[in-house]
């Protein structure tokens, strides 16, 4: 059994049952899962978690789905890697990377989708759905296949072929919609409100979906030996992930698994071409002004972030910082991460690493803080963003003489 009390409105606090609801009828505020932490504290221990599966489901007591309804593609429990070489370049002595490129479909979305569809199955839904420009579509398609659920996934018709193939392979109804982002968004809003018999993962089961991101905090604390880091750097698209990582650290402290969850400083990373939260942070503004995205970091390109305001509050309350990163800086940071640590990240990872570098240079991140940067997606998903910045060191004819000449040039360059 889970220890979920129900849902509550984040704005007015009105209580709702744990059903497929996402918006407060009364004030239109977003709904959030509410737990009985006293009951959870009695049930979980470090040992009980350590004996669990090597996936997000080891933390099932702190997730809103029943253990028996889990859909296990082994999402989560990804490596936490000590990044000495990158740390040396950035002047950080205690830097760690949460390598979420290793998830089943290559991004952190597997965490949220696994939770959303487990809950959807529990609520009796037979059809999974989403509207996506990439990572979410991949993950919903794969998890629905694993669960034996039907899936309807909506994508913009101009999506790159690789992204279409990575979803279509899972044999689902893949609907390519003509028009711009706003057209697709509007149609999908209408479809979601028509098809209340579908589990639209980021609409009617969104409160459960977003809870999956808490596991990014749970795992980091466990992997650090059951203690919280001093500082984390999180990419910001909708802002949901950042707020849930914060919630995750707080929950671990509430149920007695760590002592210092409330002290984690949380910083956010945005692309300059879509940085409404960073702009509000820098201006000291009390609202987020929507923007029209223009960046290679497509997975963060949400101009009107649903949780942007809440993310801004978390960054301010925890004394974190925000960065905004240009497209060339994103590519440089992807290369820096690959060169120093052997991890190939998608563009969102470039945004995070570049923000980490900026905040370290500005002194927002202290030299000896225990810092964790979240690398949330695999570079194979956004190879096109690298353009011609990568390629062979040299092209040679098939002769030993040609290769020897290349070697001599290299030696000359080194000396």
């Amino acid at each position: 059994m889970t220890s979920v009390n129900g849902l509550a409105c984040r704005e007015c606090g009105r209580a709702y049952p744990a059903e497929a609801l996402h918006v407060c009828d009364f004030c239109f505020g977003p709904l959030e899962v509410v737990y009985d932490y006293e009951a959870i504290a009695k049930k979980v221990s470090r040992a009980s978690i350590e004996a669990g599966p090597l996936s997000i489901w080891r933390y099932h007591e702190l997730l809103p789905a029943h253990e028996t309804s889990t859909i296990d593609l082994r999402a989560g429990f990804t490596p936490l890697i000590r990044a000495e070489r990158l740390g040396e370049e950035l002047g950080l002595t205690n830097l760690w990377l949460k390598d979420d490129t290793r998830n089943p479909t290559g991004s952190f979305k597997d965490r949220v989708v696994a939770v959303a569809l487990a809950k959807a199955r529990e609520l009796g839904f037979k059809v999974a759905s989403c509207a996506s420009t990439g990572n979410l579509a991949n993950s919903v398609a794969a998890h629905a296949a694993r669960a034996g659920m039907s899936a309807y996934v909506f994508i913009p018709s101009n999506l790159e072929h690789v992204k279409i193939a990575m979803t279509a392979i899972f044999d689902l109804k893949l609907i390519a919609v003509e028009g711009n982002y706003d057209d697709v968004n509007r149609l999908c809003s209408e479809i979601a409100s028509e098809h209340t018999d579908w589990a639209f993962v980021n609409v009617n089961v969104r409160p459960y979906y977003s809870e999956g991101s808490k596991t990014l905090a749970f795992e980091v604390a466990e992997q650090l030996g059951w203690r919280a880091p001093d500082h984390v750097v999180v990419p910001v698209g909708s802002g949901s992930q950042l707020t849930k990582i914060h919630k995750g650290f707080l929950e671990l402290e509430k149920v007695g698994l760590i002592e210092d969850g409330g002290h984690v400083r949380i910083s956010g990373a945005q692309a300059e071409g879509c940085s409404p939260v960073t702009t509000a942070f820098r201006d000291g503004a009390d609202q987020i002004r929507p923007v029209r995205p223009n960046t290679i970091a497509k997975s963060l390109a949400i101009g009107n972030p649903a949780d942007g305001w809440y993310a801004l509050q978390v960054v301010r309350e925890t004394n974190g910082g925000m960065g905004s990163i240009t497209d060339p800086e994103i590519v440089e940071a992807i290369q820096l991460l690959a060169r120093t640590e052997g991890i190939f990240a998608e563009t969102a990872g470039g945004v995070t690493v570049a923000t980490l570098a900026k905040l370290a240079a500005e002194g927002v991140i202290g030299r000896d803080e225990c810092v964790v940067a979240y690398i949330t997606g695999n570079g194979l998903k956004t190879v096109e963003a690298l353009g011609d910045t990568v390629g062979p060191s040299v092209v040679i004819p098939p002769t030993l003489a040609a290769f020897s000449e290349f070697e001599r040039d290299q030696e000359g360059a080194i000396s």
Partner: protein
């Protein structure tokens, strides 16, 4: 069709009866759920019901009056 919107009124429009004018001129029904007037702007979260053509027309009209219109609940994610 019902759409949930956040309307942001820049300081110079806070005193204008824009919602009342919209109701008189366009065939839509607003249902206000939350609202506030801050230091330099005001905002209203409301539901607008009517035929799709009418709610679309109302959104366009609000934009023309200088009101920032945000659709609540974008559903497309990466």
């Amino acid at each position: 069709m019902a759409v949930r919107l956040k309307l942001i009124f820049p300081e110079q429009y806070v005193r204008e009866p824009i919602i009342a004018t919209m109701v008189r001129e366009l065939n839509v029904t607003p249902n206000i759920r939350r609202a506030s007037v801050e230091d330099h702007f005001g905002w209203i979260i409301l539901e607008l019901t009517g035929a799709v053509a009418d709610t679309d027309a109302a959104i366009t009209w609000l934009g023309e009056q200088g009101v920032e219109v945000e659709l609540l609940g974008d559903v497309v994610e990466s």
